[in-house]
Amino acid sequence: MERTKVNVAVGLFLVLGILALAYLSIRLGKVSFLGGAGYLVSADFPSVGGLKAGSSVEIAGVQVGRVESIGLADYQARVVLRLERNVKLQDDSIASIKTKGLIGEKYIRISPGGSEKLIPPNGRIREVEAPVDLEELISKYIFGKV
């Protein structure tokens, strides 16, 4: 009888531990269940140079979403963003890939537009700016003059 009690207590303790671990890994890994909250919009960039799934999406420096996935579509990079539901984007919003600091990580900055029309869920941001490729610019100055 005493033995069963101890066994049950140890079992409960173990289950509790596993649950705590699962909670922790979900919180830290930012894994979203059931497609997560918010809505998706896509944007096609000529190049994404260094942007990764999970990179942050910011408006005025405030994070409003994340990069859900990056894929290739017609030799362009199609970036799918997951935005918070209360963030509305006008259809002339501009999505630019920027670098934090001079050599920091890449993120997407959205500058909101002035149109009355909004981008619906699963819609597309038409106005994009690819990251400025410093190496390419430098090589242009080095090799440009023929």
Binding site: P112, G114, R126, L137
Partner: protein, 213 residues
Amino acid sequence: MIGLRRCALAAGALLMVVVFAHHAWAGSPSDQLRAQIERVVKAVEDPDLKKDGKVRERRTAVRRIADDIFDFNETAKRSLARHWLQRTPAERKEFVDLFANLLERSYISKIELYNGERFAYLGETVEGDQATVRTKIVTKQGTEIPIEYKMLRTPNDRWLVYDVVIEGVSLVANYRTQFNKIIQTSSYQELVKKMKTKQTEFLDEQRRTSDRS
């Protein structure tokens, strides 16, 4: 008899002009853009207008063509973005004029530096009423500068440019950030005041240089 023939000839010529003029507006976004840019090059290279004393005439000529290429209203609206919605129709009209002058000051004077650069048209994507035309400028030294024109279709089938993306940097995005910063830190009135002062300074400067020559 001769009078009748002359009449027919004149009618024919008139018809041709009408047909060609119409033709200039029809066609793909690239074709329309190419026709307009050729007009600019012609105006800049016009030996009559190239003389030093003709700066003002040359600028007016280029500005007139620029009005045919650009949809300044749309560019201004997109650059002002959120703040556009809060403006009254009168304020909007004033702002579009100021903005068109700002672009003229910054870019039309640069166009005069044109020196035999070549334009290459790389392709276009049309999506409903919006189109992107990809071009590049090749300088005499062989440096290539990629330029993308974002265009909108007007009801009469003309394509007008509302944004220019040079080397991946968008004109609208650039001004949107600047205008937003000025409006956030001071006010819209301050922005208009700033743009007006710049324009008067520019006009004074222009008057002085043309007086000198």
